[in-house]
């Protein structure tokens, strides 16, 4: 951990990632098995390594393309919030960190909201982007999630949260902690409206996000191999001074311990969501036509 890994590498990555589609950056390495994957194959395979099945992290925008019917969706505007409410600074000012993340992502904050249809049913998706300050939850994420629930309720739609987060955003201090009850209120509002709220837990989902809206789904789905937990593994190791068991805090571990309903590979995710949303939203209707598997590049 030094200036190179903290500062230079993210910048370089940002430059490289922006050019993902141009020739010259045709290959990517799987972070799990280390094998080279042809970038186009990776995209066609929904960013799942074809060698080892590892599910690579994907952005919120890619999620929308993968999950909505034909990838068709409209973004839902998220409310503006007070910037840097605590005037927080470590060796860098918080507004500067925000500015960097915004420049890199072209987005305002870590949660994006969109509406469209899944399996023909109206659905709002609130997706966290791990690339934006580790998907951390501050005022903007809390407001975005509340807005997503409000939109779902207004449109009588299902709400799907796709989580990927390191937890609360330290730079907003106590106000980030307050997003735990605030997002929980949004889930309660969904319950009161009688609309389904489904959570898709992806790698990684930890801290305050797990300990609030991510664990309150009517149905909890996890992606294979995703790390999901409350405390970070390093904190646990330091506290108990023991090695952590194999597979600890992985999606399959949570399934074994009764914490999620299912572990669903990305290629089946859209289909699974369509099925549960249909069952919960149209209890008396006849079965719908089978849902097409997600198209190759997330679009028709």
């Amino acid at each position: 951990m030094n200036w190179l890994t903290n500062f230079v590498k993210p910048r370089i990555n940002a430059l490289v990632n922006r050019k993902r589609d141009v020739p010259g950056n045709l290959w990517q390495t799987c972070p799990s098995c280390g094998q080279m994957i042809f970038a186009r194959d990776l995209k066609a395979n929904l960013s799942v390594c074809q060698h080892c099945g590892h599910h690579l992290r994907v952005s919120a925008v890619e999620r929308f393309a993968m999950l909505f019917d034909d990838g068709v969706h409209a973004r839902v505007e998220t409310p503006a919030v007070v910037q840097d409410p605590l005037k927080f600074r470590d060796h860098k000012r918080y507004p500067d960190r925000l500015k960097d993340s915004r420049a890199r992502s072209g987005e305002k904050d870590a949660m994006l909201v969109a509406e469209g249809k899944i399996g023909g049913q109206p659905t709002v998706i609130a997706a966290l982007d791990f690339g934006f300050m580790g998907g951390s939850m501050g005022l903007a994420v809390g407001e975005a999630f509340l807005a997503a629930a409000a939109r779902a309720i207004a449109a009588k739609a299902a709400l799907v949260a796709v989580t990927a987060s390191g937890g609360a955003r330290m730079q907003e201090g106590i106000l980030s902690l307050m997003q735990m009850p605030r997002t929980t209120i949004a889930v309660e509002q969904m319950h009161e409206a009688g609309l389904p709220y489904i959570v898709v837990l992806t790698d990684p989902t930890t801290g305050g996000v797990t300990a609030s809206f991510a664990m309150l789904g009517d149905i909890a789905i996890a992606e294979p191999g995703a790390q999901i937990g409350f405390a970070g593994p390093r904190v646990i190791e330091k506290t108990i001074r023991e090695q952590l068991p194999e597979g600890f805090q992985r999606a399959e571990y949570l399934l074994d311990h009764g914490m999620v309903d299912m572990v669903v590979p990305r290629a089946k995710l859209r289909e699974t969501l369509a099925q549960v949303i249909d069952l919960l939203m149209r209890p008396k209707a006849a079965a719908p036509a089978a849902v097409e598997p997600a198209p190759a590049d997330g679009r028709a």
Binding site: H91, M178, P181, I185, A211, A231
Partner: protein, 317 residues
């Protein structure tokens, strides 16, 4: 004898002199009475001055002081007929979260809170106030009980955080915290939470999504401990002092942010110097807040609690 904190050295020296003088006084020297009174007023003045301008890091140390009144002492001091209730009915009884029914100034309440313990043996027994999922699930059960019988819920928050351990994760620590917050928000009875020492992150908010959130004058309440924040953002725990400042974790800052509704004054030199007075002042505040919440319907209590949290974050510092 007081256990002194690092920044209290000048106070410790004066109190040392005071003790010596008292011994001499017992021997019956002339003019000592006057000097004693003089020194006593000096100590009080120094305590008052020091505690009037504690830094956030100093407050963190005071909030964690071993002699600060803990759940059990507070309950003994202000709850009549306290009847402890145990267990989550699913797995175990977590000693880090205690709860039960009793009366505060004549009013029957459900009181739930973290217990840190006050000496090595009891600290181990209560796991330093770091609860496991079964602790939060016990809290949920007790809140449900209170809700059915119309008892107001009073919570006392004092935890470094939820326990980060393998067993806690295996049994769904995150889910337990989320459900506890959800249960608190859904109650149709008044809920008053008080941060009495350390309000540590998710482990604290699980018991603090209340109609009224009170905080002792020198308590702290934060999304992350200054040490952990320092190790993440400054890459070393030695910047905890800076982190404590940046995090704005004092009762005074949180009052300004409207996260805290009232700051409960502590005796001169902190709650640990006069626990009885501190507990009295806490009981006053709880009684006052419960009285103010009297007569509200179940739906109004829930709706107003919701609005209180939805309105947060509109103002910065």
């Amino acid at each position: 004898m007081n256990r002194f904190l690092d920044f209290e050295k000048p106070i410790a020296e004066l109190e040392g002199k005071l003790a010596e003088l008292r011994q001499l006084g017992d021997a019956g020297g002339a003019g000592i009475g006057e000097e004693l009174a003089n020194l006593e007023s000096k100590v009080e003045k120094l305590l008052r001055q020091t505690y009037a301008k504690l830094t956030p890091w100093q407050k963190t140390q005071v909030a964690r002081h071993q002699d600060r009144p803990q759940f059990s002492a507070i309950v003994a001091g202000m709850v009549e007929g306290f009847t402890p209730l145990a267990g989550d009915r699913a797995f175990a009884d977590d000693k880090a979260i205690q709860g039960g029914i009793g009366r505060i100034r004549g009013r029957a309440v459900m009181i739930i809170g973290h217990e840190k313990g006050s000496d090595t043996a009891s600290r181990l027994k209560h796991n330093f106030g770091m609860a496991r999922p079964e602790g939060y699930r016990k809290a949920i059960r007790l809140m449900g009980l209170a809700d059915r019988f119309g008892l107001p819920v009073v919570t006392l928050v004092d935890t470094p955080g939820a326990f980060p351990g393998i067993d806690a994760e295996a049994r769904g620590q995150a889910e337990a915290i989320a459900r506890s917050t959800e249960a608190t928000l859904g109650l149709g009875v008044p809920v008053v939470a008080c941060v009495i020492g350390e309000g540590g992150s998710g482990g604290a908010i699980a018991l603090a999504a209340a109609n009224r959130v009170l905080m002792f004058e020198h308590a702290v309440y934060s999304v992350i401990s200054p040490e952990a924040c320092s190790s993440i953002l400054w890459r070393g725990t030695d910047k905890a002092e800076l982190a404590a400042e940046a995090l704005r974790l004092t009762a005074q800052d949180l009052f300004q942010l409207k996260v805290v509704d009232a700051v409960i004054p502590e005796p001169i030199g902190g709650a640990h110097r006069d626990p009885k007075a501190a507990i009295r002042s806490l009981a006053d505040a709880i009684e006052r807040n419960l009285t103010e919440l009297d007569g509200q319907s179940r739906s109004s209590l829930k709706a107003r609690r919701r609005h209180k949290f939805l309105d947060l974050g509109k103002v910065g510092l």
